[in-house]
Symmetry: C2
Subunit: 386 residues, 2 copies
């Protein structure tokens, strides 16, 4: 267990500002937070003493002017390391990150089964392997973040229900802590990625934004008033089940017209097959290739999917009014994104209500390692938030 450094509100504020807003002078921190500069000095001191923060050298200082030059506070990223692991149904993806949640090494480990004990055992080995890659990791890594799809109770480290893994009420934090000796946080995978964007990515500085993930399914993480929207019953961000398709396609969720039933990987391939394109037994890869080769029937299917995604994003923006929308995807979705993009933009703009269309759309490809990074970001945020 790492002793908690952020004991007071001011300490939390100051440290997270330096962590997320890059090097900042004390006066600047005081201005932005409303604290007195004296308070900033005091709050920063313990972090400097313990090596989490440092003052930048004179050479690294910014624009000069009249008066004493500022000595901006900067994070020491290698003061502490974190491990983030994304757990899928057939693989563990793990990364070691620094304090800024920057991935340093990554490692994959296939899963033969999703049986809990077996996954935890594999996880322990993955973690041990990652820690062994550098001696400093063993010394200065105390926290592990896990990202799992489904309904996660972060406060209790409990996976309430994960359909993909077939887990119910699994006390994953406790099990993983016992197996690895680290402090463990568990979070829903989309929310974890959202936290990574909020603190270390394109959500920095926005009090509200949305993250839309396009891939096998379509997911969404929301931040409002600076906090992740949790969802009262374990459900939130299910943008994939907004019914924009009319009565037509039936969805695995029992609903009709869901975005995911149009633009999810499986329905998309099915639509290509129904169109008789991309070969005898089309797969996502052959469909992709056919679309890139210019097959109009296949391209129409992708355009329809993009339309559905754009409408759902507009619905979300109309309801929620985010400052920005970050669009990202896992590996398959990522490869197809160029096929969606134009139609997403067009349909979003057409359906966004009034000023909601002013919302900035940011396209950000993210690899699977980024999901693991999200898990690490949650561990970091948990450690440094009161």
């Amino acid at each position: 267990m790492l002793p908690r450094l952020t004991t007071t509100p001011a300490a939390t504020t100051v440290f997270t500002m330096v962590l997320t807003q890059g090097p900042v002078s004390r006066v600047e921190i005081a201005k932005r937070t409303g604290l007195s500069s004296a308070a900033v000095t005091k709050a920063a001191r313990p972090f400097i003493e313990k090596g989490y923060l440092q003052e930048l050298e004179a050479t690294e200082r910014t624009a000069p002017g009249a008066g004493r030059p500022a000595s901006p506070l900067a994070i020491r990223p290698d003061r502490e390391f974190f491990i983030g692991v994304k757990i899928t149904d057939d693989e563990l993806i793990g990364v070691v990150t620094d304090l800024r949640a920057q991935p340093l090494v990554s490692s994959h480990r296939p899963l033969a089964t999703t049986e809990v004990d077996s996954v935890v055992a594999e996880l322990a080995e993955l973690v041990a392997g990652l820690l062994a890659t550098d001696p400093s990791y063993g010394e200065r890594c105390h926290a592990l973040g896990l990202a799992v799809s489904g309904d996660v109770d972060k406060a209790h480290g409990l996976v309430r229900y994960s359909p993909f893994l077939g887990w119910r009420q699994v006390p994953l934090a406790r099990l993983a802590a016992a197996a690895t000796g680290l402090t463990v946080t568990v979070e829903n995978d989309v929310k974890a990625l959202t936290v990574a964007e909020q603190w270390f990515g394109d959500g920095v500085g926005a009090s509200s934004f949305a993250l839309v993930t396009v891939g096998m399914g379509i997911g969404c993480g929301l931040v409002a008033n600076g906090r992740v929207v949790a969802g009262a019953h374990g459900v939130a961000g299910e943008i994939g089940h907004i019914p924009v398709g009319g009565d037509e396609p039936e969805c695995h969720c029992g609903g009709r017209g869901c975005v995911e039933a149009i633009a999810g990987t499986a329905p998309l391939v099915a639509a290509v097959r129904a169109a008789g394109a991309a070969g005898e037994e089309p797969t996502f890869e052959t469909a992709l290739a056919a679309a890139h080769a210019g097959d109009p029937a296949v391209r129409a299917v992708f355009a329809r999917a993009g339309h559905a995604i754009g409408l759902a994003m507009a619905a979300m923006a109309n309801l929620f009014g985010p400052e920005r929308i970050i669009v990202t995807g896992d590996v398959p979705g990522l490869a197809a994104y160029d096929l969606f993009e134009e139609q997403i933009n067009r349909s979003f703009t057409a359906q966004a209500f009034g000023a909601a269309a002013d919302c900035r759309l940011l396209l950000r490809p993210r690899t699977f390692e980024q999901w693991a990074r999200g898990a690490a970001a949650v561990a970091i945020q948990t450690l440094f938030t009161l």
Copy 2:
């Protein structure tokens, strides 16, 4: 100007808990908030001294037991009064409320024009009339809340854009303050109603909930993590422009398939007309009568509208995961609600994703005075929140 009593976090917490959670003992407040009971005693004292809070008499106390009986703190609702006014394009609706935002008197005033100066002048007369109804109002009323549809900048008391009123960049708080001598807050009407539910209605105790208003249009207010979702570009809660209707109906917003283009009052009447039902030139009233009389064509139109509303509510719930959904409406919507209700419930349940269907649906008819009450609630919340 009323001097601010809630200067410290503890004072705010204690007072708002008594205000919103009814009579509570100090120990109970301490338990729920995590404060020490000593802190509660200290925080409560100034409110008692100034007459905002009182200790309940022995006779009013709750269940006895061993030990010193609790003396619960209760609000003194008549210590301070508030005026709330809802501004529509053809009418001002005003109420005087007590500290609990309970309406005591109401008054309407027709508007010949929506020209700003004229509206402000009418407003001043309305307020003067309301204050004259009881001498204590004049003594103990210092704040006025205004509710306006459209994009409102509450922090600056500015109506950025209100399509219904044809207003742009109107510094309404300043103008109304000058005309009435009261401290004025301005808020979007749906958000105001949401605040009323959050503090004094069916949102009490919920850290997240949604309010859906069915009427001429369909609106929505959202509360997440205990705070109203504002929307970055002045847009939020536009549930009426979620495209659940496919490509079919074109909406006045420029989009297609919007809920409001199906279930709004005008499109609904148009659909009845297209069906050739409810008389030569059907109005909302004749359509309503025909539906209540059992005309199947008209009932089908209402069912279709209910379906659209239910789907939009499910989309919202899937995305947002509210603990509860409060469904309400203005006068016309209210009269028709029984025709929507069954279909709303059915379509919501069908489309809600997994546990999102567990969300409690509360049907709460609200009169126009309730909207005015919402404005008063915002004034109250603003006064007693740090």
